[in-house]
């Protein structure tokens, strides 16, 4: 408003100045009064226009005010709806701690291994009471482009960095890129941490293939097809330091993995996912321990190529898609692995000569396979029962043109197998207690009854599980 007043004054002043500056010498009375009239007219016309303008501005302002009022109301409503937490806690990542403990009743076996298969390591098969890995997980959006995730496995005097990665939130066109250390998208169970397994111990397929699961330090590119059926190819390149590869101190990629997953629904009650994946890597002096036919310990290493094919299938059922009371899950995976290269072996203890005495070295070639199939049924709310069958086929494993079993008996021609049944109770999504019985024949000559009692509890923000 102030501006208009000033404007009006300036106008008047100008008019007066103009009036005064008109040649005074020739001004008659008539002219003077005419001029006065003119000014009066101008003044009134301006004044009316100005007041009109003022009125318009006022109404516009009041409208804006009303709109603002509305906006403020809406905001306060929104603010009421969404109670703001302190800004610091809001920026904290989601933290979760997963506690798992076990009581295992097993035979006293010196060196647990899978007969016929070069050991992948990573066996925490302790007898009696123990706490397994305690998992600590942190995750949050890094910014508008990236999401970050970290998973640490805490074991005595040791922290294993299981996963630390970033992932793009949306590259567009269905692409997403993951980088860092991550569990490979191979197969079905591979991306699951032990707390998400349906049984107290790992299946023999993953035990033989990777020890626990295959992790990469590298990059993963996924593409999700723009179709109603889920079709997702992926490719990964990485360091390839984990079994079946080894850390080889080189530039470039030490392992390449690729595959495709597909999935969909059948009606409202059934859904499935299936996939095929391939992993290629190389090992350099990948060490192992074993024993010869006379049960004398040997040590050795393998250098060469390793190729793995993995097929996976999952089927889930819940009446009308409502999992609360009853649901059923079937999962099966099949693998095939070829390894070829050079194998060295020697006495573990020079004072205790074995079949490898004097250090043997020769060509090694193997073609092995295996599968597991498991079914878990929730027969009433909170209670599930499950059965799992594991079977490995040692296939061919030749050393220096003859079956390796003649030299290293722990790699002899034997097909490991195991039956497991379990019962678990989950009072909420955050806790689970499990009882499991296994009939284990994973070693030649073994026929072991194993009992497990397990708990899995999670504190904090427990992230949603994948399919």
């Amino acid at each position: 408003m102030q501006m208009f007043k000033l404007g009006r004054l300036a106008l008047l002043a100008t008019a007066i100045t103009i009036a005064l500056s008109t040649p005074a010498h020739a001004v008659t009375d008539a002219e003077w009064s005419a001029l006065k009239d003119e000014i009066q007219k101008m003044k009134s016309s301006y004044e009316s226009r100005i007041s009109e303008l003022e009125a318009r501005v006022k109404s516009a302002e009041s409208k804006a005010g009303a709109a603002e009022d509305k906006a403020v109301k809406a905001e306060t409503r929104a603010a009421q709806a969404e109670q703001p937490k302190s800004s610091v806690s809001r920026f904290n990542p989601d933290i979760s701690l997963i506690m798992q403990g076990k009581y295992a009743h097993m035979d006293d076996v010196d060196e647990r291994h899978l007969t016929g298969f070069l050991p992948a390591g990573h066996d925490h098969g302790k007898r009696g009471f123990s706490v397994d890995h305690t998992e600590l997980t942190l995750s949050a959006n890094v910014d508008q482009i990236f999401r970050g995730y970290a998973n640490f496995a805490l074991v005595d005097e040791e922290i294993e960095v299981e996963e630390v990665w970033f992932q793009t939130l949306g590259l567009g066109k269905g692409f997403s890129l993951k980088g860092g250390r991550f569990l490979s998208a191979l197969g079905y169970q591979n991306e699951q941490h032990p707390h998400a397994w349906d049984f107290a111990d790992n299946n023999l397929v993953y035990k033989a293939l990777f020890g626990e699961g295959y992790g990469q330090d590298g990059l993963q590119l996924k593409w999700l097809a723009p179709t109603d059926m889920f079709i997702e190819p992926f490719v990964e390149i990485g360091r390839g330091a984990a079994f079946p590869g080894t850390d080889r101190n080189r530039n470039g990629a030490g392992a390449v993995a690729a595959g495709v997953h597909m999935g969909g629904d059948v009606g409202t009650s059934n859904s499935w996912r299936a996939g095929v994946s391939h992993l290629r890597t190389k090992a350099s002096e990948r060490e192992f321990e074993g024993h010869d036919p006379a049960d004398v310990e040997v040590v050795g290493d393998f250098t060469g190529k390793s190729k793995t094919w993995l097929a996976d299938f999952v089927w889930k059922w819940a009446p009308n898609g409502n999992t609360r009371t009853n649901n059923f899950k079937f999962a099966a995976e099949y693998f095939r692995r070829d390894e070829s290269g050079t194998l060295n072996c020697d006495d573990a203890d020079l004072a205790d000569p074995s079949a490898c005495t004097g250090a043997l070295s020769g060509a090694y070639k193997s073609d092995q396979s295996g599968m597991y199939a498991q079914a878990v049924y929730q027969f009433m709310p909170q209670w599930r029962a499950g059965y799992r069958y594991d079977k490995l086929w040692r296939g061919d494993a030749d050393f220096n043109g003859a079956d390796i079993g003649g030299t290293i008996a722990s790699l002899g021609n034997y097909d490991p197998s195991r039956h497991s049944i379990m019962l678990d109770w989950s009072p909420s999504e955050f806790s689970r207690m499990r009882l499991q019985y296994s009939k284990d024949k994973s070693m030649d000559g073994q026929n072991e009854n194993q009992w497990f009692v397990q708990y899995i509890h999670s504190l904090g923000a427990h992230g949603a599980h994948k399919f």
Binding site: L224, A225, D228, D265, A464
Partner: protein
């Protein structure tokens, strides 16, 4: 001849343009799917991720849902942590930048209504509590009206070509809706002050709207199934503080409420809870027509 050709080409262009225009909407729950259809008409393609027979707290992050979310321009969900067990997986696995939190394509209905039942204490021993408040907002039609105006704004923002149409449909919907609310309120006047028992605390907004009085919940803690012993306790509680009926949603098991209804001698009323929850609840209007009628029948 030329003119006919021109007309044909124009028609084809229009048709082609029509097929491409519009929004792909992924609705987390049936009520928001129905609302999006009301507001979007033929300008949207709506996919509803869950049905009235499913518990929206517990949905598997199925591959089909990931594939659908990949194609969405807009997701319409409840928010307030209702979908916390599955939506985050879909979001990260879909790799769809348009629907990530904070984007215009990420719509959470609960942000536009005042939530009830904010827990005084956040502790998992209290059961499945939602920090932001009770997320089952769709049982009060006044909430639907508020969400409708916000959703129409969002749709107009994302699909600006059709903005006017969304606004018009919203106005049309709001006038029909407020008329319907007046009718429902008139019919439901008898329900004011009626004491009810609920299986899950899923109806605070319905109770707030109609003036029903919740005297007891069958679940000892939210999301925790009642044991027989607990139900017996509820039964004895009902003697001193009687309820007229027991309410439960379609997706919930009927066993606890049936058990209690037989012993307490009061009816167990299954409410559709969302669109598709009963034969009559085939759209938002049918949902409340049926809800009110079932409640009134429960009173008889």
């Amino acid at each position: 001849m030329d003119r006919i050709k021109f007309l044909l080409v124009a028609c084809l262009l229009l048709l082609g343009g029509h097929a491409q225009a519009g929004l792909n909407i992924f609705a987390c729950e049936p009520e928001w799917g129905a609302l999006a259809k009301e507001l979007g008409g033929e300008d949207v393609r709506v996919y509803v991720a869950t049905t009235a027979r499913q518990d929206p707290h517990r949905i598997e992050a199925r591959p089909s849902l990931i594939a659908k979310m990949r194609q969405a321009d807009l997701i319409v969900c409840t928010g307030a942590e209702l979908e916390i067990g599955w939506l985050p997986v879909l979001l990260s696995e879909s790799g769809n930048a348009k629907v990530q939190p904070g984007q215009p394509g990420h719509f959470e209905a609960a942000r536009y209504v005042a939530l009830l039942d904010k827990p005084a204490k956040l502790d998992r021993s209290e059961g499945d509590v939602h920090a932001a408040g009770n997320p089952h907002i769709q049982t009060d039609p006044r909430n639907i009206a508020q969400v409708a105006s916000a959703l129409a704004r969002t749709m107009a923002q994302i699909d600006s070509v059709n903005a006017m149409k969304y606004r018009q449909r919203e106005q049309d919907f709001q006038s029909r809706w407020s008329q319907a609310i007046r009718n429902w309120e008139a019919k439901a006047a008898l329900l004011r002050g009626v004491p009810v028992a609920v299986q899950h605390r899923g109806f605070p907004y319905l109770q707030d709207w109609l003036g029903l009085k919740e005297v007891v919940a069958l679940e000892p803690k939210p999301g925790v199934d009642p044991s027989a012993a607990y139900l017996a306790q509820v039964l004895s509680g009902l003697k001193s503080q009687p309820a007229k009926m027991i309410l439960r949603a379609t997706y919930q098991s009927d066993r606890p409420s049936r058990w209690l209804a037989e012993r307490a001698g009061i009816p167990a009323v299954e409410l559709p809870y969302t669109v598709g929850g009963s034969v009559r609840a085939n759209d938002l209007f049918g949902l409340f027509d049926d809800t009110i009628e079932r409640l009134l029948n429960g009173l008889k």
